[in-house]
Amino acid sequence: MNKDEFRNIDICCRYDGSFYGMLSCIFESFEKREMPIQIKSDDFSMFRMKGIETNEEKAERILNAIPKKIGNEALKYLKLAYLANIEEKEIALIHFLKEGFKCGRKFIQLINTGWCPVKKVVTGALTNKYLEKIQKGVNLLTLDSQRFIQFVRFSEIDGALVSIIEPQNQVLPLISNHFVERYPNEKFLIYDKTHKTGLIYMDGEIRLEHIEEYQMPLLSEKEKDYQKLWKLFYNTVAIEERKNEKCRMNFMPKKYRKNMTEFM
């Protein structure tokens, strides 16, 4: 057996869903040179389950090795991938890191341009289906977070700004900085209904919190007026002679419109 290869095992590793938990699974895989058939954070699998304890020390070892051996950008990429919506994400990330440690510092270039410094040819990162998945997932996550920076809509409720979103990706950690800088002296809550998470900013402190359920409180008359004013502006500013539904759809796909004031 090639020493680079991992032995395939018919086991489903289960972890707690946390970032460190995922890294602990990855660590285990590298240490034993074993590739589990599944890695999941729920109980649904046809394969034999093996629980993996979250181990901070092991996780840190991976986190420290990446910048040294592959570079800071790869670490950033790994964190983004963790937040992204990627099928078989954990397994894909093992492949990602395996390739990464093999290629070394030029790895990110392979991801970004498709140039493989090991084989000295343009392979296209896309020849490896796992890398392709990760690349696609991360690109979508980045795009999604940009879109939510544009399209989040707040309502003012008792002096706080409140918004509900339903993103496919976990965008909150990526957009939090932007909104903290935008509203340094406000209180705000952005509730991610899909992932049941709230981004809460109060008294200059920002935090993420699990919130099982949240519904928009009743709106004050003043709030309703501002929403009406915005709709009025939105509908008035369009030029009839230039109508272009396709173009609007391109820049603001339907899936983002659900919680936007101008479409409610």
């Binding site: 270039q109 341009t113 498709g114 140039w115 410094p117 000295k120 040819v121 343009v122 392979t123 296209g124 920076i149 544009q150 399209f151 989040v152 809509r153 707040f154 309502s155 003012e156 700004l161 918004s163 932007h178 800088e181 935008r182 509203y183 340094p184 002296n185 406000e186 200059g204 501002y226 009406k228 004013l229 915005w230 009025l232 502006f233 939105y234 008035t236 500013v237 369009a238 030029i239 009839e240 002679e241 230039r242 109508k243 272009n244 539904e245 396709k246 173009c247 609007r248 391109n250 820049f251 603001m252 936007m260 004031t261 101008e262």
Partner: protein, 438 residues
């Protein structure tokens, strides 16, 4: 009159202004005071049903006007309902829209209420409330009203991020006939003053705490299709403005007929959107790709071709410049190849450091060869060893129907061809819609 009616009237009369961008400055509030940021790439918060970016609250201070510009629905001789915001009303509207993440800031223009100075004072008061009382650090773009004194232009410039003076029409003859109260001089004077102050401000920038004068620079816009200028004279004018007044952007606005006048195209004329789009493409070639106006068009060939974008058109008309070899060409020359944009050029340059690139490599890099293949070679070889000739290139770039009309256009048979083609599908109109983010 309530705020709803005012907002409706003053949005409706501002909507034909095209320069709704929030780009050009990066800023967060100092020490976390107040509210607001500006991002240099700009942010579009919504898109209206015409596909245009909504980035700023774009309204007039007032649609009262003592002037009588023929193309404008606010002109003094027209019987329309008039409204004027109070500075406080408008400042409150802006801050409340901003809090709800509807907008990046304010784009404030106005009709001339009593005099240019009087109008500018109202605008200054609005923006002063925003900046000083509400500590608003978001984006503000204000129009400088021609005829305003330098002192007030200066005061306004210290409060806003971008200022613009509208050129309105692409020649002084058209100004004289359609906007008799404005003259080339009254427009260029504030533009020149702003440029001077920008220069001074840059020199002073070494001293901390000196307030910045319009940090995102100045821009302008002109109406296309209301008057008879050719595209060549329009892009020549833009080139001059970029050179002489150091403008950040020139915006083009396809004339939408809203008033009946013997001096203007009839009311059923469609806005020349395709022409507007081509002008943006030509403008982009000048600003970003380093083309001069004279390379894009000339006296004998003064209109942009509706069937083919200006870069392709230039390439087709300059066969002696091609093919270029992707393995050796300069960055500038790579950018001149149809189908190769900024991103592809960058990828090619970083990848060729490692070795010679073949057509297969280009494909893997994600360079789209559909058009580029006719203009490039890889280490001397053409794509799939095809022979390149002029007619083949044109054939491949155009559909059959478009080809016939294109050839007619080339021979100057249909000089006014644009009039009939505003309905042609606009595939590349994304430029326009995104202008808020560029």
């Amino acid at each position: 009159m309530d705020i709803f009616e005012k907002l409706k009237i003053l949005t409706d009369s501002a909507k034909y202004d095209v320069a709704c961008t929030s780009s050009g400055v990066d800023r967060t509030s100092p020490k976390g005071e107040g509210i607001g940021t500006a991002r240099s790439h700009g942010i579009c918060h919504s898109f209206s049903s015409d596909g245009r970016c909504i980035s700023l609250l774009k309204v007039l201070m007032s649609n009262e006007c003592v002037y009588d510009c023929a193309y404008c629905q606010n002109r003094s001789s027209k019987d329309v309902k008039r409204a004027t915001f109070t500075p406080k009303e408008l400042a409150d509207l802006t801050i409340n829209f901003y809090k709800r993440n509807y907008i990046e800031g304010l784009f404030l223009s106005s009709g001339v209420i009593k005099s240019p100075n009087n109008t500018t004072e109202l605008m200054i008061e609005t923006i002063r409330i925003l900046r000083e009382e509400y500590k608003f650090y978001g984006y503000i773009h204000a129009k400088a009203i021609p005829g305003t004194g330098n002192g007030l232009v200066n005061e306004l410039g210290l409060l806003v991020d971008r200022m613009s003076v509208n050129i309105e029409l692409p020649s002084s003859q058209s100004l004289l006939s359609l906007a008799p109260d404005k003259s080339k001089e009254s427009i260029l004077k504030p533009m020149g003053f702003i440029k001077e102050r920008l220069n001074e401000s840059k020199e002073l920038a070494v001293y901390k705490g000196v307030p910045k004068f319009v940090p995102a620079g100045q821009s302008t816009q002109m109406i296309v299709g209301a008057s008879p200028e050719t595209d060549f004279s329009i892009i020549k004018l833009s080139e001059g403005l970029y050179d002489k007044y150091k403008l950040k952007r020139v915006f083009y606005s396809a004339y939408t007929p809203i008033v009946e006048s013997s001096r203007l195209p009839s009311l059923d004329t469609k806005p020349p959107l395709l022409r507007e789009n081509r002008l943006y493409q030509a403008d982009w070639l000048m600003r970003v790709y380093g083309f001069s106006a004279g390379e894009i068009l000339n006296e004998d060939n003064p209109m942009l071709n509706p069937y083919i974008d200006p870069k392709c058109n230039w390439a087709v008309n300059n066969p002696e410049k091609f093919p270029i070899d992707v393995n050796y060409a300069t960055h500038e020359n790579l950018l001149r190849v149809p189908g190769i944009g900024i991103l592809s050029a960058k990828k090619i340059i970083s990848a060729r450091k490692f070795g010679r690139l073949s057509f297969a490599d280009l494909k893997k890099l994600g360079v789209v060869l559909k058009r580029a293949q006719y203009f490039i070679v890889c280490s001397g070889k053409t794509h799939e060893n095809m022979r390149i000739n002029q007619s083949r290139i044109i054939n491949s770039l155009l559909s059959k129907a478009a080809l016939e009309r294109f050839l007619g256009f080339q021979q100057g048979v249909q000089v006014s061809v644009f009039d009939g083609f505003s309905g042609i599908e606009r595939k590349e109109n994304n430029l326009m819609a995104l202008s808020g983010q560029l």
